[in-house]
C-alpha cells in the first residue's frame, strides 16, 4: 500500500465497457489497463482516435466509473472530492460558460477552491498575462476564438496551482507560439515537482515534452516507456558537419566503403517549420504589430514558478524568480545527434581524424526526448497504426 502512495495515478486491471440500452456490451473502451504515473514526470497518452485515451482520463477524474478494476489518484478514489483540490484539468474542448468573461471565469473557479480574494485576484492577473488574454479579459468567452478559449481553459486549469495537471489534447487549436509557451510551462511545472498527464495526437508535442509515453490501441497498452528509448533508431548513425564539397564527400564515402558501409542520403539540414514560424512571430511582436487575438507575453504566471505554496508576497522575490527562471531558449536548432552505437567508433575516428577540434556529440538525457531532425516518425506511426508486430508491452 505504501508504494501506492507514491503513484500520482495508478490503475489496476482498469476496464471500461460501454453498454447499450439493453445492457449488451457494445464497446470495450479500456481493457485491463495497468499504468503507474509517478510524481515529477510528464506522462503522455498516445493513440489513434477511439483508443481509450479520453476514457482513461475521464475515469481518473471521476467523470466515468470503471466497469472493472481500480484507478487511484493520489491514493484516493477519483470521485473523492478532496483530491480535486490538487488537480487541474483541461478537457479536449473548452467547456466554459460562454456568458462569463475571462476574468469572471477564473474568479468563479478560483472561488470553488476557496481561495482568498487577494490571492485569487493576483493569480487571475498573472494567468491572464501568461496566456496573453489581459487585453480581452472583459470579453465574454462566447466571443472567443477556439484558440483563445483553449488559452483561458489552460488558465482555468492552473488557477489552483495543481499538483497534477491532466491535459486532454492540450495543443489542439493553439498556434505554434502558444504551443511553445505551453511546452515551456509544462517543463517548469515538472521542475517544481508537479506531475503532468497529457493525451495528444500532436506527436511533435509529445516528443518534446513527455518523459514517458504510453501508446494505446483498442483500449490496451501497445507500448510504454521513455520517449528517448522509443525513438532511437539503433540501425542508423547521423553525422552533421559544415557543408561539404563533392571531393570531401567522395573521400568520406571512400572511408565508409572501406568499412563495408555506404552513405544513404546527403542533404542540407532544414529548419523545422516550428522554429521558423516562432522566429517570424517573435519579430512581429518586437515590431509591435497589433493583434485582436491573444497577445502572450511569453512569461509564465509567477505563482506557478513558486517553489512551494507560500502566499504570494514580496514583489521583489517574484521579480527575482522571473528573471532567474526565465525559460531557457528551447533547443530549436535541428543539430542534435542521436546516441552513437559504440561498435562503429573506429569508423568515426577515421572520419574525424583530420579535424581533432570536433567534440563528440552530446548524449541526450535518457528521460528527455531527443529532438531528432529526421527522426523517423514511422516508429510512432507504426505504433499508432498498431499494425506492426512491435513488442506489446501492455500485455506483458
Amino acid at each position: 500500500m505504501d508504494q501506492d502512495r507514491h503513484h500520482v495515478i495508478a490503475t489496476a486491471g482498469l476496464t471500461k465497457i460501454f453498454r447499450d440500452f439493453w445492457c449488451r456490451e457494445k464497446v470495450t473502451a479500456v481493457a485491463d489497463l495497468d499504468i503507474e504515473i509517478y510524481p515529477k514526470e510528464v506522462f503522455g497518452l498516445l493513440g489513434p482516435n477511439g483508443s481509450g485515451k479520453s476514457t482513461t482520463i475521464k475515469m481518473a477524474l471521476g467523470l466515468m466509473f470503471p466497469t472493472r478494476g481500480r484507478i487511484a489518484v493520489f491514493g484516493h478514489r477519483p470521485t473523492d472530492v478532496g483530491i480535486k483540490k490538487r488537480i487541474g484539468f483541461l478537457p479536449e474542448e473548452t467547456y466554459l460558460y460562454p456568458f462569463l468573461d475571462a476574468r469572471e471565469t477564473l474568479d468563479y473557479y478560483g472561488r470553488l477552491f476557496h481561495q482568498p480574494r487577494r490571492q485569487r485576484l493576483q493569480r487571475i492577473n498573472m494567468l491572464l498575462d501568461m496566456v496573453g488574454l489581459s487585453a480581452v479579459a472583459y470579453r465574454r468567452i462566447g466571443e472567443y476564438s477556439k484558440g483563445m478559449k483553449r488559452l483561458i481553459g489552460m488558465a482555468q486549469a492552473l488557477i489552483n496551482d495543481p499538483d497534477l495537471l491532466i491535459l486532454d489534447e492540450p495543443t489542439s487549436g493553439l498556434d505554434p507560439n502558444a504551443t511553445r509557451h505551453f511546452k515551456d510551462l509544462v517543463r517548469i511545472l515538472v521542475d517544481r515537482g508537479k506531475t503532468v498527464v497529457l493525451s495528444s495526437h500532436m506527436l511533435a508535442d509529445v516528443e518534446d515534452v513527455c518523459d514517458r509515453v504510453c501508446v494505446l490501441y483498442g483500449g490496451r497498452v501497445r507500448a510504454m516507456g521513455a520517449v528517448g528509448d522509443l525513438l532511437t533508431q539503433t540501425s542508423l548513425t547521423q553525422i552533421t558537419t559544415d557543408q561539404l564539397d563533392q571531393p570531401t564527400l567522395d573521400a568520406v564515402r571512400a572511408v565508409l566503403q572501406r568499412n563495408g558501409r555506404d552513405i544513404k542520403e546527403v542533404a542540407a539540414p532544414r529548419d523545422r517549420l516550428e522554429s521558423v514560424f516562432l522566429k517570424i512571430v517573435a519579430d512581429a511582436q518586437a515590431g509591435n504589430v497589433k493583434t485582436g487575438g491573444a497577445a502572450p507575453t511569453g512569461g509564465v504566471a509567477e505563482f506557478l514558478r513558486q517553489p512551494d505554496r507560500e502566499p504570494l508576497d514580496g514583489r521583489a522575490v517574484i521579480e527575482d524568480l522571473l528573471t532567474a527562471a526565465q525559460p531557457a531558449p528551447a533547443q530549436e536548432a535541428p543539430v542534435a545527434a542521436p546516441p552513437v552505437p559504440q561498435p562503429q567508433r573506429d569508423v568515426l575516428d577515421s572520419l574525424v581524424a583530420p579535424a581533432p577540434a570536433a567534440a563528440p556529440p552530446p548524449v541526450p538525457r535518457q528521460d528527455k526526448p531527443a529532438p531528432v531532425v529526421q527522426a523517423d516518425r514511422d516508429v510512432l506511426n507504426q505504433l499508432l497504426g498498431g499494425t506492426d508486430g512491435r513488442k506489446d508491452q501492455g500485455e506483458a
Binding site: 484516493h76 480535486k84 460558460y97 468563479y108
Partner: protein, 637 residues
C-alpha cells in the same frame, strides 16, 4: 486478471465533509418526519388504530422537527462557500439568459395589462380583479420561468459538458445541485420582491382612487380587500341524516316506491347502472342526500331559514370612549347610488381614530350607525334614511357630550340564488338577515327587509356581540319576496379581521416563493438525468398534475365508489403523488389577497414546511442520488 491490488485511502474528515454530513443528516430527519406527516394526512393514523388526538400531537411534534431539520439543512448548505459560489453563479447565469429577460418582460406586461382590467365597474371589483389576477400571474410566470431555467441550466451543463470543468473542481455533487437550487430561489426572491412591490404600489394607487368614490365603494375596498380576515364556513347541513330519515320513512311507508327506485338502478339500461343491490342502495342514498341538500337550502316565501356557525375565535371587545357632537348634517344627495340619511360628526381623541374601521357598527349613546369617515380628531357616523328618524338619533344635538361605543366587527358573506327554471324578477328579491347570539340572544343585522341582488356575493357587517363565548353565531334569513329563494350554503362565511393587509401581502408573496422553491427543485431533479425537452415536458406535466390536485382528489374520492378497484388504486396512487406534488391551487395567494382573507402564520408555516422544505428537499435529494450515480461523461469511443 481480476486481482486489483490497489487500495483506496479513506477520505480525510474535513470541515467540508462534516458540513456534507450535517446537511444529509438534517435532510434525512426532514424526509422521515415529513413522509410520516404526509402519510398521517392521508389516514395512516387511522389505519394504525391511533386515536385522532394522539395523531394530532404526533403531527405537531413532526412539524417542529421538520422546521428544525429544514433550518439545519439550509444552514449547512449556506455555510458552504462552494454552495454560495454556485448559487451566485447560477443567479448571474440566469440573469444573463434571454429567457429570464423574456419572462421578466412578460411579468411586467401582464401586471400592467391586468392593471387596466376594470372588473365589475366598482372600485372594489377592480382592486379584487387586479390583486387576484396579478398575484396568480406572478405565481404562474415565475413557476414557468423557474421550470424552464432549471431544466435549461442543468441540461446545458450536461449537453455542453460544462459540468466537466465544474465536476473536476472540489465541488461535491450535492453542493452543485443545492447551489443551483438556491441560485434559482434567489432569482425568484428578487423577481417576486420586485413585482410584489409594484403590485403593492398599484393596489395602493387604486385604493387611493377609491377614496374619492362612493361610500359603498370605499367600504367594500377597505373592509373586504385591504384587511386580513379569518373566515369560518357555515356548519354543514345535516343532509345525510335527513336523507337517512327520509329513506327510513320511505321504506316503512312506501316500500314499493323504494324498491322501484332500487330496481331502476339495477336495470342494465339505466344511465347510472349498479352492479348489485348494495351499490344501488348507495346510489339511491346519494341521490336522496342531493335532494335533501337542495331542499335545505331553499327558503319559501314568508319563511325563515337558520344557519349556524361555530369556531369563531373573536374577542368581542367592546370599549366606550367619550365624544362630543360637532355637527349633524342631513344627507340628501340626488346622485345615483349616493347615501341618504344623517351624518353626525363627533370630536374624539386622536388615539381612538386608529381603532376605527370603515363601515364598522358604532353606537352613539343608544343610536346604532356605522363609521363613515374619520379625520385626525373626528369621526363621521352615518345613520341611514330610516334610522335617522329614530328618536335616539334625533336626540343627538350639536355640542352634546355623548358616549361612543366601539365593538369588534363580524362580516357575513352570502349569495342569494333562485330555484332553477323559476322566474324571479331581479328587482323583486327581498330579504332580511339577522344574526343572533345563541347564548345571550343579542341580535344584530338588517333592521328591516331589503332589496337584495341575486348571484353576487354580498357582505353584511355586524357587531361581534352576536358571537357567543363558545364562538357560535346563528344566522337567520327571512325571505320577504313572493318567490322561493335559495341561500347557497357553500358561499356562507363568517369573517372577522385578524391582521393587517401588509403582513398578509408579504406572506402571500412568500408563498409564491415557496411555490418557486418547489418548482426549482422539481426542474433540477428532472434536469439531473433528462435532456432539456424531456425535462421541460416532464416538469410541465408535474406542474399540471399539481395544479389539478383538488380535481384529482375529488375524482378518486373513495366515499362513493369504495368498491371500485380502479378508484382504490387511484386513491393510493394519488396519496403517493401528493407526497411529492403539492396542491398548487391551495397555495396560491391570489384569492386570499383579493378577498382580504388571512394567510395565517400557521398555514404559511405548514405550506413552507410541507412544500418548501419537505417536498422540495425530497426532490433535491432524489436529484443528488441520481446525479451521484450518474456518469457525467457520455459514451465516446
Amino acid at each position: 486478471m481480476e486481482s486489483p491490488s490497489l487500495q483506496y485511502a479513506l477520505p480525510p474528515a474535513t470541515a467540508a465533509s462534516r458540513r456534507s454530513l450535517a446537511f444529509f443528516i438534517a435532510v434525512a430527519v426532514l424526509l422521515v418526519t415529513g413522509a410520516l406527516d404526509v402519510l398521517a394526512s392521508v389516514g395512516l393514523g387511522d389505519a394504525a388504530g391511533l386515536p385522532p388526538r394522539t395523531v394530532q400531537t404526533l403531527r405537531g411534534l413532526a412539524h417542529v422537527l421538520e422546521i428544525i431539520a429544514a433550518a439545519g439543512a439550509l444552514a449547512a448548505a449556506v455555510a458552504s462557500f462552494t454552495v454560495r459560489t454556485v448559487a451566485m453563479g447560477t443567479l448571474r447565469q440566469a440573469m444573463r439568459m434571454k429567457m429570464t429577460a423574456l419572462l421578466a418582460g412578460m411579468l411586467v406586461l401582464s401586471v400592467a395589462g391586468v392593471f387596466h382590467i376594470q372588473g365589475d365597474g366598482t372600485a372594489g371589483g377592480r382592486i379584487y380583479t387586479f390583486l387576484s389576477y396579478s398575484t396568480s400571474l406572478v405565481a404562474f410566470v415565475t413557476s414557468l420561468m423557474t421550470l424552464f431555467l432549471g431544466a435549461t441550466i442543468m441540461s446545458q451543463d450536461m449537453d455542453r459538458k460544462l459540468i466537466f470543468t465544474l465536476a473536476t473542481k472540489p465541488v461535491a455533487r450535492w453542493e452543485y445541485l443545492v447551489g443551483r437550487w438556491l441560485g434559482l430561489v434567489l432569482l425568484n426572491v428578487l423577481l417576486i420582491a420586485a413585482t410584489g412591490l409594484s403590485i403593492w404600489g398599484l393596489a395602493q394607487y387604486l385604493r387611493q382612487q377609491a377614496r374619492s368614490g362612493s361610500y359603498a365603494d370605499r367600504k367594500a375596498v377597505e373592509t373586504e380587500v385591504f384587511v386580513a380576515r379569518q373566515w369560518v364556513a357555515a356548519d354543514p347541513l345535516a343532509a345525510a341524516e335527513a336523507a337517512d330519515d327520509a329513506i327510513k320513512a320511505m321504506k316503512k311507508n312506501r316500500p314499493d316506491v323504494y324498491e322501484r327506485e332500487i330496481a331502476a338502478y339495477l336495470s342494465p339500461g339505466s344511465a347510472e347502472h349498479a352492479r348489485d343491490r348494495d351499490e344501488a342502495e348507495q346510489m339511491q342514498r346519494k341521490k336522496t342526500i342531493a335532494v335533501e341538500l337542495d331542499r335545505m337550502q331553499r327558503v319559501a316565501p314568508g319563511t325563515l331559514t337558520q344557519v349556524s356557525f361555530s369556531g369563531i375565535d373573536i374577542a368581542a371587545s367592546r370599549s366606550q370612549v367619550p365624544a362630543r357632537v360637532r355637527f349633524v348634517m342631513p344627507l340628501k344627495s340626488t346622485r345615483q347610488g349616493a347615501e341618504k340619511g344623517k351624518l353626525v360628526r363627533l370630536t374624539i381623541a386622536p388615539a381612538v381614530v386608529g381603532r376605527l374601521r370603515l363601515g364598522a357598527p358604532l353606537k352613539v349613546n343608544d343610536a346604532a350607525g356605522e363609521m363613515y369617515r374619520a379625520g385626525n380628531d373626528f369621526v363621521d357616523v352615518l345613520f341611514d334614511e330610516e334610522d335617522a328618524a329614530l328618536p335616539a338619533v334625533a336626540a343627538l344635538g350639536e355640542g352634546k357630550d355623548v358616549t361612543l361605543t366601539l365593538v369588534a366587527t363580524l362580516q357575513l358573506r352570502y349569495q342569494i340564488q333562485k330555484i332553477v327554471n323559476d322566474n324571479v324578477p331581479e328587482d323583486q328579491v327581498f330579504g332580511q338577515w339577522v344574526l343572533i347570539n345563541p347564548k345571550t340572544s343579542v341580535a344584530d343585522g338588517m333592521r328591516r327587509p331589503r332589496q337584495l341582488p341575486m348571484y353576487s356575493t354580498q357582505t353584511l357587517t355586524v357587531s361581534a356581540a352576536v358571537v357567543s363565548d363558545e364562538g357560535k353565531v346563528t344566522a337567520q334569513f327571512i325571505n320577504a319576496s313572493r318567490k322561493p329563494l335559495v341561500i347557497s350554503h357553500d358561499t356562507l362565511q363568517m369573517l372577522y379581521p385578524v391582521g393587517s393587509f401588509e403582513g398578509n401581502f408579504a406572506r402571500g408573496m412568500a408563498m409564491i416563493v415557496v411555490r418557486a422553491v418547489f418548482v426549482a427543485a422539481m426542474a433540477l431533479m428532472l434536469g439531473s438525468f433528462l435532456s432539456f425537452p424531456v425535462a421541460a415536458l416532464a416538469g410541465m406535466a408535474g406542474f399540471i398534475v399539481a395544479q389539478l390536485m383538488p380535481f384529482l382528489a375529488s375524482a378518486t374520492n373513495m366515499t362513493y365508489y369504495s368498491h371500485d378497484a380502479f378508484a382504490v388504486v387511484g386513491h393510493y396512487v394519488l396519496a403517493l403523488m401528493s407526497m411529492v406534488l403539492p396542491n398548487l391551487p391551495a397555495i396560491s395567494p391570489g384569492d386570499f389577497l383579493a378577498e382580504g382573507k388571512v394567510i395565517s402564520w400557521d398555514f404559511f408555516t405548514q405550506v413552507a414546511v410541507s412544500t418548501g422544505a419537505f417536498r422540495s428537499l425530497l426532490l433535491v435529494c432524489l436529484g443528488c442520488l441520481i446525479f451521484r450515480q450518474r456518469e457525467l461523461a457520455r459514451v465516446q469511443v
